[in-house]
């Protein structure tokens, strides 16, 4: 039994297709959106310490609160903030799309592409609105 499963797994390893030439792979909108979902997730994950730092300082005392308020007015921090706002928005909308796909809503190929475009657009719209507010 064990021998058979070992054989099976080595067979699977051999048969696994390897295609590392990304230029030969088609990237429909759903793929770009999905990569964006992952990239946004990583960015959100890595930015956690900075946001915790801001939260901690802002709750310490009046001066800390003023410090954070001043810090988030800095152009570099604003730019960073906008990237994080896009990340959160994109991750949020892509997540809702996953929820709907789980419920078999928009599961067929044509609609899946349309909702992927919608997710991308919604992410950029939030980015644009906040750029307008913050800059």
């Amino acid at each position: 039994m064990e021998h058979a499963s070992q054989q099976n797994s080595s067979y699977q390893k051999k048969a696994r297709p390897k295609n590392l030439n990304l230029l030969s792979v088609k990237f429909p909108m759903s793929a770009i959106m999905s990569v964006g979902h992952r990239a946004a997730g990583i960015l959100l994950f890595l930015s956690l310490p900075y946001f915790l730092y801001l939260l901690q300082i802002s709750l310490t005392n009046e001066a800390g609160f003023a410090l954070v308020k001043a810090e988030i007015q800095e152009p570099v921090v604003k730019l960073f903030g906008l990237i994080m706002i896009w990340s959160l928005a994109h991750h949020f909308f892509a997540g809702i799309r996953f929820f709907l796909l789980d419920l078999d809503i928009g599961i067929d190929k044509k609609w899946a592409q349309k909702t992927a475009v919608l997710v991308m657009a919604a992410g950029f719209l939030v980015f644009a609105v906040f750029s307008f507010i913050l800059l």
């Binding site: 956690l48 901690q56 609160f65 996953f98 929820f99």
Partner: protein, 112 residues
């Protein structure tokens, strides 16, 4: 020792934690945008409220689970070498434990 949540369990965790965090974020944004002038006393009062304090703690537990499942999926997809994979996963879990302890410290420092 296993670092893999079973597939269905991981999928379910990701959905449930995502749903909770989505609601928390919407509530957070709603408060931020409906508060005309956010002052230190308002900010402190808000986070010191037992309900908000608890919700924020829960948010972080959900965040830790959600990002663990998500980051683990990405590592399993793109890092095929076992040693590097294990090292990366160890770094991610260490990072998450540190972040969670830090968050607990912030929340517990507020007097309810």
């Amino acid at each position: 020792m296993t670092y893999q949540a079973k597939g269905l369990q991981a999928w379910l965790f990701q959905r449930l934690t995502g749903a909770f965090m989505a609601l928390y974020i919407l509530y957070f944004l709603w408060v931020i945008f409906t508060t005309e002038q956010m002052t230190y006393s308002l900010w402190l009062e808000w986070f010191s409220h037992p309900l908000m304090n608890t919700l924020t703690g829960l948010f972080f537990i959900h965040l830790a689970v959600h990002s663990w499942v998500g980051m683990r999926d990405i590592v399993l997809d793109y890092i095929p070498r076992d040693s590097l994979r294990l090292f990366t996963l160890a770094c991610i879990s260490f990072f998450l434990i540190m972040i969670s302890l830090w968050m607990l410290r912030i929340l517990f420092s507020l007097t309810l």
